[in-house]
Symmetry: C2
Subunit: 342 residues, 2 copies
């Protein structure tokens, strides 16, 4: 067994889009688990847009990563030493291990995985936080009804692909937005979206809006908001009366160094919310773990049978995590971005 781990720490805070300088690869001695702790060898770590928010020293729902601190991430790995009666060496677990090859974690913060039930990487994507985010936001806040029209961006990503597939299964018209013709083909051909619009083909929000209006002849009843920015500007005027907008992310405004303005001024947004009786709900999935068993019971069997599909992009080696992360913020990945560490 090695006696050192490798990890990526936050070297400095980004100004806009993160750069290589914001990250530092470090070696550190392998820690030993204390009472009720286990040592994990991380097999796969997750890269998610929310991590960009943690790099800022801004008030948010979670504390920022301190300078010099290990970047946050969910991971799946194998227990290689245990001081907990609940976990044995060889168990596969999920937890917030960070950008690191090894981690000591309190047993209470780990969830045991059954690698025979589904591949362990699914705990990071389709059956993990992103898939759960899509399921929760659509069903609990979007309140989908057959015959309605849903729009979601990042359609091939782990949130958008869950939202689109669930909406289709519920009898909605599902219209995706994605960056590039390849992703749009994946969205319609593999994931079953009724239509998918390549936002890169439209420079302005109004051009994108015209394309959306064509793809949504009956207007938009649910906009599952995960990007903000140009897509928001294009979508918002197309919302139908009684529309619902669950918000789980605004990555293009805040997480990727994008321009932080909107063609929809606040008074217009507010007035339209009133006259269209819109229901707008921000949420982060960390507040809703009580519903996770319901999600897993419903969705895990469908992942196993292939009724719910998922796409993964796998980078290799912790030293490549920053590049993969920065690429993801620019939309380079097609599906759930994972880093393989073993």
């Amino acid at each position: 067994m090695t006696d050192t781990l490798k990890r990526i720490v936050l070297a400095s805070r980004p100004d806009g889009a993160p750069t290589d300088d914001n990250f530092r690869l470090e070696d550190a001695p392998l820690p030993s688990p204390g009472a009720d702790e286990v040592l994990i060898r991380v097999h796969y770590m997750s890269l998610d847009p929310y991590m960009r928010g943690r790099m800022d020293d801004a008030k948010s729902y979670a504390a920022p990563v301190p300078i010099g601190g290990t970047m946050e991430a969910g991971g799946v790995g194998e227990v290689i030493a245990s001081q907990s009666p609940d976990f044995a060496v060889g168990d596969f677990v999920f937890g917030m291990m960070g950008w690191t090859t090894h981690a000591v974690m309190p047993a209470a913060e780990l969830r045991k995985l059954d690698p025979k039930l589904a591949p362990p990487t699914t705990a990071l994507g389709v059956l993990g936080m992103p898939g759960f985010t899509g399921w929760y936001g659509l069903n609990k806040l979007g309140r989908p009804k057959a015959g309605e029209t849903l729009v979601v961006a990042a359609a091939t990503g782990p949130v958008g692909s869950m939202v689109g597939q669930l909406a289709k299964a519920a009898g909605l018209r599902a219209v995706g937005i994605a960056g590039g013709a390849d992703k749009c083909a994946l969205a319609t051909d593999t994931l079953g979206f009724d239509a998918c619009i390549d936002h890169r083909a439209y420079d302005s929000a109004s051009d994108l809006r015209a394309a959306l209006a064509d793809a949504c002849p009956d207007g938009i009843d649910i906009y599952f908001e995960n990007v903000g920015g140009k897509v928001f500007d294009a979508v918002f005027p197309l919302m139908n009366p009684h529309g619902r907008i669950p918000i789980c992310g605004v990555v293009s405004w805040y997480n990727a160094g994008g321009k932080i303005d909107s063609e929809v001024p606040t008074p217009t947004l507010w007035r339209q919310t009133l006259v269209k009786f819109l229901s707008i709900n921000g949420f982060i999935i960390m507040n809703h773990w009580d519903d996770y068993p319901e999600f897993l019971t419903e969705i895990a069997p469908k992942v196993v049978t292939g009724d719910i599909k998922f796409l993964e992009d796998v980078a290799e080696g912790i030293e490549n995590a920053p590049t993969a992360f920065m690429g993801m913020l620019r939309g380079k990945n097609r599906g759930k971005q994972i880093v393989k560490l073993i």
Copy 2:
């Protein structure tokens, strides 16, 4: 019985705040009721901020009043001729009669009142659309919990006074905003608000916000939005996580010729909605008449006993309705603005 009626029609559309030129007083022959219709002598008509919206030729939840058309209003009156088996001469009724001394109305669009149960004017205010708006928005969308803090503007108006009194009864801290020290004294001394802030005493949203922060030491959990504008700018940054914002009006942005901008840009509003898990719901009470019996059953007895108080401002004569309406949009009224026509 007279053979003419007097009514106020929309002479022209306002540009900003309405002026006398936008209204015209007309005489017209008294119409006769057809089958299943009744003729009503209007005793009291209601003036409400939403009427300002109807004067614009803008897409909204309701059609605009046409040029030359009678201004819309709810009214209470006495049946003076009936071609309906459901209404007898002498019955008191509520309906959308308009700014008019007499109206022929389909029986199906009228609601019979029991003048012995409560004064007929209450059908326009505390037991009518405004009171129902406050009750619905607070209870169904605001989801009040004891110990929380609520803020509502136009605190002595018919919506705000209902919201504040219900919030107090539910164990919340109720903080009002009103224009002028007299109204603030009414809000605290008569209506039972814990505090009331005179927005006229603060030129800037940030100064108003500082006063609100003092009055809301635990932040704001529910902002019942009925004004927009400076009050919105002051309140929004003080919202607590999991806060709720029912929106029933944005009068200061759209109905009174106010400045249509905000210190809270849309991307900030959207991001804060996410990171604070806010729930924002626009509504108009016309969509929720199914819940009216529940409201009336709960609230009417409390109005009779005085457990729910209400304030009325009564103008006299239809010719004075435009002046009273324009005054209301500038906040001259303290309570529910009514015009006595008899």
